[in-house]
């Protein structure tokens, strides 16, 4: 399971002033909900579900 790191400064994911972590990614429907854009560009694996910005791969975690 890939864990991504969102460092977008305006994103609230994670602790205040720190990057947040997520697995998976935002769906196109969620981006539309977030931004109002009916045809969003970035979405899917590795795109932050909180802010819709592409994130960096942090590490790969084994399923437990």
């Amino acid at each position: 399971m890939k864990v991504y790191r969102c460092e977008y400064v305006a994103c609230s994911l994670g602790g205040v002033g720190q990057p947040g972590y997520f697995t998976g990614g935002i769906s196109a429907e969620q981006v539309t909900l977030l931004t109002g854009n009916p045809e969003p560009g970035d979405h899917g694996e590795g795109v932050c579900p909180n802010c819709g910005q592409p994130a960096e791969l942090d590490h790969d975690e084994e399923e437990s």
């Binding site: 864990v3 994911l13 602790g15």
Partner: protein, 143 residues
């Protein structure tokens, strides 16, 4: 609300004071669990293996950096001392939700549970798509 610093977590604390045999590694992890109930946690002798971490879509545990814990202050009123971490936001729930019974803090490698707690309103949080859960952890030692 139930909370527990299990044996394995207290062993880490005692390993620093008074034994000076262990130094924990920052950051710790803040995780959400679906095991136990909204008002119960593991027993003292149980471990991280007895806790089921949530797997809702987009979930990942969040880091708790040593330097970010707030100033040590009184645990009101005169109960002890505490430090509060700034509010932590977990990822927005995607297609598959979950029922969250509380949070737990683990060591850097996520191999030891340092403490587990329900939410203070002892109510499970039922996460559906687009829901966001935010947690503000406090760590206290009582006199």
């Amino acid at each position: 609300m139930a909370q527990m610093m299990p044996d394995e977590g207290l062993d880490i604390v005692l390993g620093q004071i008074p034994k000076d045999t262990a130094k924990y590694t920052s950051p710790l992890n803040l995780a959400l669990f679906t095991s136990q109930t909204a008002s119960t946690v593991i027993t003292h002798a149980q471990t991280i293996a007895n806790i089921t971490e949530t797997v809702y879509t987009n979930y990942a545990r969040q880091s708790l950096a040593a330097a970010t814990w707030g100033a040590v202050a009184e645990r009101p009123t005169n109960l002890g001392r505490q430090s509060t971490y700034p509010q932590v936001t977990f990822p927005t729930c995607g297609a598959t939700g979950a029922t969250i019974n509380g949070f737990y803090i683990t060591n850097n490698g996520h191999t030891i549970c340092l403490g587990q707690a329900n939410f203070d309103d002892v109510t499970a949080v039922v996460l559906a798509q687009n829901d966001i859960i935010k947690v503000t952890p406090t760590w206290a030692y009582l006199h």
